[in-house]
Symmetry: C2
Subunit: 417 residues, 2 copies
């Protein structure tokens, strides 16, 4: 078993970097958007911990960071673990960080026990997993796995027009590249420990989840052009109200979910702005994002089509209204490897921890690395319905330690194969 107190302390220490006082919850939240100064400070802290633990650190052209502990067999492919430390703007201490700091805690434990593994063990930190700054989630791992190009990623811009490439350079994380540039040489296996970010483990009264896969994610941005007009004098039939159209989309998406006709569809409009954003002016322009999730690829495609049809009809509903959509991110359902899942389940049994199998509602770096090697994830229970992307996000010190115990045993077993 790992040192749960040391793990907890590192989680709390990292959460101080980018911390803010959250007005709504009265709690201390974390705001460490990818490649901001706060994220860079967090990266430097974690690199220092990696080096203290004796890991050889390298950084690739996406700013992905890998810390390596050599094994006894120099020809063997490494076992990889890790996650991300970037956060949304209203985050807690656990999302991503548990996987990275858990990986380092496993290394510390191996060091203390003087355990040598056959295969190298690596701990990875992937850039812009959240996707909220540059618009595409799991970005660093998607480039490492070869699904997206580094050129595509470097050209992505944040809302202020700053490119990801420029921000990598600004923060000093434009590493010289792994042997094969940013493309990761296939590891032997990848295991990621992460908080569940949902209510299923708590509802089932268990601490450990063996993740069967990740549901599909569809992100798009919709821009609506209407016509600015006077709120008092413009007859309703002469309006092209971009704000109203945006609202109709949000309401329609909920209706699609509530219809029950698209399987287990979830839909969220998280970003919504109107312009010129003044009380007595009919909005000339609106921009919103649509986040769809579905564990079933066919149902996802049907939901996307239903939305497209709605947008088409909406455009015709008010003369002068025009809509454009931009694809931000799209991933299909990703199933995890049965062998790795069994190893995780066995490790949980060894620690006497009850576990269940469940699907992930959130996207994770693991779904990208799964294209390179056998992959699975360990979920740790969250309190308060598993609320996440919120300062109330919380997993107990015991739950975190148990998750990392399972991670340690799983990695050890894989590293000796």
């Amino acid at each position: 078993t790992v040192n749960g107190e040391r793990l907890w302390q590192s989680l709390m220490d990292l959460a101080e970097i980018g911390a803010y006082d959250d007005e709504r919850t009265g709690l201390r939240g974390v705001n460490r958007l990818a490649l901001t100064d706060a994220d860079a400070a967090g990266r430097r802290q974690v690199i220092a911990w990696m080096e203290e633990a004796g890991l050889a650190v390298r950084i690739d052209r996406m700013g992905n960071i890998y810390g390596r502990r050599e094994g006894t067999d120099p020809t063997a492919a490494p076992v990889l673990t890790g996650s991300h430390i970037d956060s949304v703007a209203t985050a807690g201490a656990f999302d991503g960080c548990l996987g990275v700091l858990g990986g380092i805690e496993v290394i510390r434990t191996l060091n203390e026990r003087g355990i040598r593994t056959r295969r190298p063990v690596e701990v990875g930190i992937f850039t812009e997993e959240e996707g909220v700054r540059f618009g595409t989630d799991m970005l660093g791992s998607a480039v490492a796995a070869g699904r997206l190009t580094v050129e595509y990623a470097h050209a992505l811009t944040d809302r202020d027009g700053r490119t990801l490439g420029g921000e990598l350079a600004r923060t000093g994380f434009d590493g010289p590249g792994c042997p094969t540039d940013v493309c990761l040489a296939p590891p032997y296996a990848y295991v990621e420990c992460h908080i569940e970010q949902g209510p299923v483990l708590a509802e089932n009264g268990v601490e450990i989840g063996v993740v069967t896969g990740v549901q599909g994610i569809s992100w798009q941005e919709i821009t609506i052009h209407g016509r600015a007009a006077h709120a008092g004098t413009t007859p309703t039939h002469l309006r092209a109200d971009a704000g109203l159209a945006a609202a109709q989309i949000a309401v329609h998406l909920r209706a699609l979910v509530d219809s029950g006709e698209y399987g287990e569809l979830r839909a969220t409009v998280g970003h919504l702005v109107v312009h010129p954003d003044l009380t007595n002016i009919v909005p000339a322009r609106a921009e919103l994002t649509v986040d769809l999730r579905n564990p079933d690829d066919t149902q996802m495609a049907r939901a996307e089509k239903a939305l497209a049809t709605f947008l088409h009809d909406l455009e015709g509903s008010q003369p002068g209204l025009s809509l454009t959509t931009r694809r931000m991110a799209r991933t299909a359902y990703v199933p995890f490897d049965e062998g790795v899942r069994k190893t995780i389940a066995q490790a949980a049994d060894d620690h006497g921890l009850e576990h269940i199998s469940l699907l992930s509602g959130a996207g994770h770096d693991a779904q990208e690395i799964a294209a390179l090697c056998p992959t699975a994830m360990i979920f740790v229970r969250g309190e308060y319905d598993g609320i996440s992307h919120n300062p109330r996000e919380y997993s107990t010190p015991e739950a975190c330690a148990h998750g990392v115990d399972v991670l340690a045993t799983t990695l050890l077993r894989l590293a000796d194969q």
Copy 2:
């Protein structure tokens, strides 16, 4: 008749102050929000024109500016004309400016002809007529007319928390006060020339409108508190989605309008923001404004009540959702004086200009001054369905000159009574 070219030149010159290149329309727009540097520059320009025209200028504690031309009878109450020169953020050259610059053009014409009137003639410029910076429209005239207090007005804040009182001081427009502080001594009559900002005159093929009154205006701000949560993992039934609630309000308002059950109701959500405003986070908070218009006070009250009921039900629809509302502005239907309306109609006839009577869809300073003295307005036709609060706002030089001809004749007649 006035000098239409000189009038047009002053409209175009003033429009250069606060001008910007509007991306959407490709036109040059005006952005002169009240008491910004651009507004202050515009005020200084117009004061210079007033002084060139021989007007004695005074400024009250609301930053309202009055330029006075004495009459032959020192005991007679003045005839007042005027409007405002502040604008919305995406404005054209005419809204408000036509009334102020038209008033100055009348003075210039009287000077050239050596005409002495019995009563003084004053040209007023009222502060924050648009209400989009500090949240209450017709603010300067409402204080001048005694409906709102100067303390209330000075304490209003913009979105950055700057007070109106502070901005008056910063821009140097905290005048020492009229004889009776900011409260205006009742004029003999008030006449305001303004663009229609709507399609009625064009539809009727006439250039001049005699305004019968102003419909009621109801502005409120709604703040919604929900709960930030992960878009991928949070089951729909566990969400308290503040952004969805905001969208539902916007859609419901349009349904109230379309129902036809609230008379000639118009409803606009011009301002809408969500927080934290990120793709994969269910919005924790949303803020929106509701602008309702109704020519019938009873129907307006019914619509406000229907909205309040909807908000109450909405609060119950998602556990964890809470709503608060704040009244920003509220005016009842204001009828204009029959005598002044007849004088305007007669003046239009004298100039051989066809005219119709119509109600104003927009709020105007005239509706506040109407509490002090007999008041009415002259409307000038706008092109492109009378679009306003938009850079496309346009009235022809001829239409503007004709409107100010009617203003001149009306003022002359009233000033000799």
